[in-house]
């Protein structure tokens, strides 16, 4: 079963070129939306202005290209609808990711005021146990925001005592702790609408939570979902600009799979013919 092999560095080179060229020469392939993304969009649309929501940045730079565009689009959508946002993170580097999103939003929405329209309460360790503690008593877990300002002095948090005071919970998750913990505690324990954005790697394992019981209200899975959200927002951004490259790279991988299979069948045929 002698299968023809090629130096894998040629494959590396082709993938590199296949991703780089469409970033430079934009093709502009169409984007279609899927049900799960529309559900997330509708959830934000149906949230009354003035409500407070919690967005948890449970990822680090390793997953930034997939989750950061989702974070940008979602926060922009919330701010457009005058929804107040509490930023938190179950991953320490998530704090920095949330701050990067806020840096962009401060330019787009100069009227939004820290402490009134949004607040960053920073990182907390402990995964599921800490999320459960937040659900019971928000102030015990977050005695202050990330600048050290006591929670009682932050106007938008005056009425927030536990998850009952939040319109929905949203996790941008690259693994554990992340969206699973928010579903198990946020929705299944405290009955709050919960949704999230996940990396492509973890999407299949999270999909069973999108069911009739709405353990998850929709799901953004990978860069494609981020591009769909940008499309729904009519605000093309980082994700949209990457979709051409994504398409070409997938095509190259599929071509390689076809070549490998043709080689295998040929080798198999030759072997059978030789016997």
């Amino acid at each position: 079963m002698a299968q023809k092999t090629i130096d894998r560095r040629w494959i590396f080179l082709l993938i590199f070129i296949g991703v780089a060229l469409p970033l430079i020469f934009i093709i502009g392939l169409p984007i279609e939306t899927t049900e799960n993304v529309r559900m997330v969009y509708e959830m934000v649309e149906n949230t009354p202005p003035g409500s407070t929501v919690l967005i948890s940045y449970d990822f680090d730079p390793a997953s930034r290209p997939e989750l950061y565009p989702m974070g940008l689009a979602l926060v922009e959508h919330c701010f457009q609808r005058d929804i107040k946002v509490i930023f938190t993170a179950l991953w320490p580097m998530g704090v920095q990711m949330a701050e990067d999103v806020l840096d962009v939003m401060r330019q787009k929405f100069p009227n939004k005021e820290y402490g009134v329209d949004y607040v960053n309460v920073g990182f907390k360790a402990g995964g599921i146990v800490t999320v459960q503690a937040m659900g019971k008593n928000f102030r015990e877990v977050y005695p202050s925001d990330m600048n050290g300002t006591p929670i009682s002095e932050i106007p938008m948090l005056r009425g927030v005592k536990n998850f009952d005071n939040l319109a929905f919970l949203f996790s941008l998750s690259a693994g554990s702790p992340g969206i699973k913990e928010w579903v198990q505690i946020g929705h299944d324990t405290y009955g709050r609408p919960t949704s999230g954005g996940v990396t492509g790697v973890s999407a299949p394992s999270i999909l069973p939570y999108v069911n009739e019981q709405q353990q998850l209200t929709g799901l953004l899975a990978g860069l494609k979902a981020a591009a769909e959200y940008e499309f729904l927002m009519d605000s093309p951004g980082l994700a949209t600009s990457g979709m051409d490259a994504q398409s070409i790279a997938h095509l190259i991988i599929i071509i390689f799979i076809i070549i490998a299979n043709v080689n295998y069948w040929r080798a198999n045929k030759a072997e059978k013919g030789g016997k």
Binding site: I6, R8, I11, F12, L14, I15, V19, L29, P30, I31, E32, T34, E35, D60, P61, A62, S63, R64, P65, Q96, E99, N120, A125, G126, G127, V129, T130, Q132, A133, K136, N137, E140, V141, M146, N147, G148, A203, P204, S205, L207, P208, V210, G222, K224, A227, D244, Q246, S247, I248, A249, H250, I252, I253, I254, F256, I257, I259, A260, N261, Y264
Partner: protein, 231 residues
């Protein structure tokens, strides 16, 4: 004492947490809530333990001049620089021991800790993981061969999902008439994800869930003790 008391603690704590779900009143609700708050602080120390352990391992590597010990020097310098800059001048929104570092910010544009994170750490981690793009392409070429019914299903599902999850999928099958629109690649990929994939993943989830429940009970009842380590 060294083994039995921890086993008793695990039992009492585990039982208290479970009881508090069904009897959320005093004392179970209060005890469970307090335990959760303690958990956060102990988790903080556990993180510190991890970092101190990294120090110990690398110092021993240098001390005994183990293979590639020179790289351990780089690791230690990096840790010390990151911790030093973070504690001395703080992070973006925290003040350090030496204050807020306003003079440094005036020169560098940000605090040294954040500068290192933005310009060194982010790039290193993002690139490290992006290497997997190359390896997954290579793996697909080497391993994705249609040999059996199972591998055929694997291959077909992978290709349909890969095509359906890109704009190319929409483009290639945009001509498909409305009557058979379920064959449109993005819709086909969505179907695969929503039904057969969810079914498979749900079976895994139920199986793993039952496993975790069993393990939790074994730990609480003291049957599973390996987490205590040692003798």
């Amino acid at each position: 004492m060294k083994r039995n008391i921890p086993l008793i603690i695990t039992f009492l704590v585990g039982i208290t947490v479970i009881f508090s779900e069904f009897i959320p009143h005093y004392p179970f609700g209060m005890l469970s809530g307090e335990l959760e708050n303690w958990f956060l602080i102990i988790s903080g120390f556990a993180i510190l333990l991890g970092q101190l352990s990294l120090f110990k391992v690398n110092i021993l590597k240098i001390k005994f001049k183990k293979e590639n010990w020179q790289y351990s020097v780089i690791t230690l310098i990096s840790v010390v620089v990151m911790i030093g800059t973070g504690l001395l001048w703080g992070t973006k929104d925290n003040t350090g021991i030496l204050g807020n570092g306003d003079q440094i910010i005036a020169v560098m544009g940000s605090k040294p800790f954040d500068y290192l994170f933005d310009n060194v750490y982010q790039h290193l981690q993002a690139t490290m993981f992006s290497l997997l793009a190359f390896f997954i392409a290579s793996a697909a070429y080497r391993a994705f061969i249609a040999r059996t019914t199972e591998s055929n299903l694997l291959l077909i599902a992978a290709i349909l999902v890969m095509l359906g999850n890109t704009s190319l999928g929409s483009f290639l099958t945009s001509w498909i008439p409305e009557a058979i629109s379920f064959l449109h690649l993005p819709k086909l990929a969505e179907f695969i994800m929503k039904y057969p994939t969810t079914a498979g993943q749900r079976a895994i989830m139920i199986g793993a869930g039952l496993g975790i429940i069993g393990s939790s009970l074994r730990i609480i009842l003291g049957i599973e003790r390996s987490y205590l380590g040692g003798k």
